[in-house]
Amino acid sequence: MSAWFSDLTLLGCFLCMVLPIASFGLIMIFTRNNHKLSLAISLLCSTIPLIIAWSLLYKYWDIAEPIVYNYDWILSDFIKIPFGFLLDPTSLLMLTIVATISWLVQIYSIGYMEGDPGFGNYYAFLSLFALSMLGVSISSGLLQLYICWELVGVSSYLLIGFWYEKFSASEAGKKAFVVTRFGDVGFFMGLAILTIFYGNLEIANINSAAVAQSMPPWLISTAALLIFCGVMGKSAQFPLHVWLPDAMEGPTPVSALLHSATMVAAGVFLIARIYPFFSASPEAMAVALAIGTITLLLSSTIGMVATDIKQVWAYSTVSQLGFMIMGLAAGSYFAGYFHLTTHAGFKALLFLCSGVFIHHFGTNDFFVMAAKGGRKLIIPMVTITIAALALSGIFPFSGFFSKEAILGALYHHPNKIWFLMGLLGAFLTAYYTFRVIFVMLFPKNPAPEEQHGHDEPHEEHYGVPWVMSIPLLVLATFTLILGFCQGYLERFLLGHTLHHEHNYLLLVSAVVAALSGIGLAWIDWGSKKAKCVGFISYVPALENFFKEKWYMDHFWRWFLNVFIYGTFSRLFTYNDRRVVDGGVDTVAFSTIGSGRLLSFFQTALLQLNLLFMVVVVAGVGLYLLIGR
């Protein structure tokens, strides 16, 4: 035990795990109804990990060998599950991202959630999330990662369904949990296969070259693909992406933290985490690339037609996650991971800004917000624009650099189709992003004054509480500077800087794609003459298709109703009632019935009874006599 305290790194990791759960437990059990105290506990327990994360990042900036701490969590026979921490660049970076954003969101929530009766619970759930996400980052074994991963799912479930009186919220929470669970089962199966082969799920082992050689290739592919199922679930990849837009039912800070910046990035992180193993399977890489691409395009197109601001960002998140996966699957570990980092910053920013609007105007529809004078909220409007620029990949914002990296990776892929698709994605992204921005900035039909009548005192100040604006500013700063840290991060993550061959074709095509997207948005939405209808509405069928979200929700609903409830559940229930249970009852009743039948032998007629008796005696006697 003393080792835990003498080694500060270990103590730090340990505290990262223990503090949030302590906070969760304390708040849930004792201080749920005391909002101030709950807040204090929760903030304390998220500030310390923040400090730890940054100091660890600082301390191990030049880390060469991963630092591993392993303790036995379970020692069964074949299955040995360690509990431990793995500190290497991948985990340290993620740790920092998570700690930072969750700290910011906690600060932000002070303002956002003020006065909510479930304030205490909210912070407890945030702590639970912090625990699980930090755990995902620094787990030393895949199984520990899986456990935290599941806990992430649970906290997501709890937070999405935070306003559980709303049917849509509770439904969305359930949907999120079940759909991600769908992927997780695959993940778990993959883990099971790996365990059966190695009996050990230490990430360091799995990533070692020996593993890839000792395992038959088909099995590696199977395992990798199964694990990829988990990624699809958590990172909302097609076709399991359907939960994420619905997850926007939760409070907006939650969306910022979980459903854009960190939790959904866990899937991408997982691939990055076991990248050497994952990339050992070309099939898995190919599938991932395809899935990522489909996701990118699909969600971008849906994002083009959504009117709920959070929905737009949600689909944008999905598409960016697809983009990250593309990057990783195209062979560039750094590109994917770098995009994850930058995306965490600007997407959290986007959500938090939107949160301010939503909080202020009490609506999610950005047309309404614009009409109500959304642009008068200066700080949020500026920061959201910065974030939008980053998202669209405009220089010098962080998104530009990371997108460039991914497109670069795609460009080097032998099949150029992926690159083109990436460009198309970038174009669409820019388009739908600026659709929102232009609508907000240049409202076409300001709402009539009389509508504002009773909201008058509200209208007077367009100020934002500092607890909400500070995180915005911090994140905006990150968005501005992170892009220029590319080189440092490369060295940190890869141990060396990549050799950048400046491919102007690449650069130009990316910029052109982004700018043309913005331009088209300007034409459609921004300019004075804009008709405020998307270009896509010229093809009504397609627009409808997008509006219906490619019918994916319908598909899943249908699948659930027809297969799960309609077929299996009903059949099994019927079988249970009628066949299994009915069989048992039939046996019982026929026993009773046979009793009734046999009781007729006990006639009231003495001589008939005697007759039976004699016949039996004679029968037994004859049987015995003839038998020998």
Partner: protein
């Protein structure tokens, strides 16, 4: 000390005489009748216990006194005593005949005692008839409707036919072995059991005991008689006479050490059919006593299972089971005669609300029924398991399986009674008041049912020693 050897029998003979004299009095005083009978019966238990460890032979070896017989004599004396305990209220028997009632019970017990000690076939037969005749008379002694006399007729004629079969069998044994002495028969048996005459002779002889024990197909009297006879008489028939029948059955079956396949197979079939038939038909009964009659048929099957193993363990188990059956069945009948204190027949639903009408009786009834169903921790469970164990040891796998499944079926109807007693409210039914003696008896029975169920060792050991004596 030859007198001691014959002590219990003499004592009960004396008791019969006293009761006979009592029956001659003109003035009827049922309280005195009962007290005298009860007092003598209590003395009988003492005497029988005192003679428990007697050993010897009487009447030119026609009568053997050994541990086996003495144990059963104690059990019989105890049984009589218990039956008399619950006879304080003979509502369904004419006051004039109370003395005769006790007298016939005593002569029946005497007959049964001689039955368990007799080692001469003719003595066995006549003792059996002595006990049977007493019962034939007791059954129609009930007052009231025509049920009793009908039951009496059926009992008599089925009994008569069975005893004809038995006599025929006896004659064949006599013809084949030239003797009526069990030990001489036994000497001849080993070579005889392989021949048809030996087997058939023995089987036909057993018919008489099957009748007593109500084994299929000699069971037809049981439901009718149980229902038709007065509660106390039924109690006696269901408990005491069964125990004695088991004893003699054991003694006779133990004649041969090795039987051919056929003989055991015949018993096997009878055992299975008895169990199954009894249990199945019991399910549909509404009258409690009639239900118990069918259950007794089923239990006869279990006893038979122990006997047909032809092993020491099996006999031990059968004895244990018989004693256990006596006790648990008696418990149920005690409840019947206390609840139906006007002597009527008890429908199962009339037990409704027994748990608040009289909690003690309710508990006793439940334990008794659970014991009958073979639920632990009770004497019935241990007995059943011992029987099964011994049967399995001899390789009767299917028999045990059927027996075990039958246990489940039987639980159904016992639970129906428990259901009535514990679940139905029975608000309109009156509370049942019991005297001190019955209260003490209930406690004692509960204790015995659980105590000997949990600590069966003593009884088992005793039974085992006794069996050794029979097997010689």
């Amino acid at each position: 000390m030859k007198v001691l050897l014959f002590g219990p029998e003499l004592y009960f003979l004396g008791m019969a005489l006293v009761l006979f004299i009592l029956s001659l009095r003109r003035q009827v005083n049922i309280r005195i009748d009962h007290q005298v009978a009860l007092g003598f019966a209590a003395g009988g238990v003492v005497v029988a216990s005192a003679c428990l460890f007697q050993q010897g032979e009487l009447f030119f070896a026609a009568y053997r006194v050994d541990l086996f017989s003495q144990i059963f004599k104690v059990a019989l004396a105890l049984g009589l005593f218990l039956v008399l305990m619950i006879s304080h209220n003979l509502a369904h028997i004419d006051d004039r005949y109370h003395a005769e009632f006790y007298l016939f019970l005593t002569t029946c017990t005497l007959g049964l005692m001689m039955l368990v000690s007799a080692v001469e076939l003719l003595t066995i037969y006549v003792s059996l008839e002595l006990s049977s005749y007493s019962l034939y008379i007791l059954v129609p002694l009930r007052r009231g409707d025509d049920m009793d006399i009908e039951a009496g007729v059926k009992y008599l004629f089925i009994g008569a036919v069975s005893s004809c079969f038995m006599l025929f069998g006896l004659s064949y044994i006599f013809g084949a072995t030239h003797s009526t002495y069990v030990n001489e028969v036994m000497a001849k048996m080993p070579e005889l059991v392989q021949s048809p005459i030996g087997i058939m002779g023995l089987l036909l002889t057993l018919a008489g005991f099957f009748f007593k024990l109500s084994v299929f197909p000699f069971h037809f009297w049981a439901p009718d008689v149980y229902q038709g006879a007065a509660n106390q008489v039924t109690t006696f028939i269901a408990t005491v006479s069964k125990a004695a029948a088991v004893a003699v059955l054991l003694r006779l079956v133990a004649l041969g050490e090795v039987y051919g396949f056929g003989f055991t197979q015949a018993l096997w079939i009878l055992s299975i059919v008895s169990m199954t038939l009894g249990n199945l038909v019991a399910i549909v009964q509404k009258d409690f006593k009639r239900m118990l009659a069918y259950s007794s048929i089923a239990h006869a099957g279990y006893v038979l299972m122990g006997i047909l193993t032809l092993s020491e363990a099996g006999y031990t188990a059968a004895i244990y089971y018989a004693v256990a059956y006596l006790i648990m069945n008696f418990t149920c009948f005690m409840v019947i005669s206390e609840v139906a204190n006007d002597g009527r027949n008890l429908q199962i639903v009339e037990l409704a609300g027994l748990y608040h009408r009289n909690p003690l009786l309710g508990l006793a009834l439940m334990l008794g029924l659970f014991a009958l169903a073979g639920v632990p921790p009770s004497i019935g469970f241990t007995g059943k398991l011992l029987v099964f164990t011994s049967a399995m040891k001899e390789g009767y796998f299917w028999l045990v399986l059927v027996g075990a499944v039958n246990g489940t079926i039987s639980l159904y109807y016992y639970l129906k009674v428990v259901y009535a007693a514990y679940f139905l409210e029975g608000k309109e039914l009156p509370a049942v008041h019991i005297g001190l003696s019955t209260r003490a008896l209930s406690y004692a029975l509960i204790l015995i049912i659980i105590g000997f169920g949990v600590f069966p060792d003593r009884v088992v050991e005793l039974a085992r020693v006794a069996v050794k004596g029979v097997l010689l």
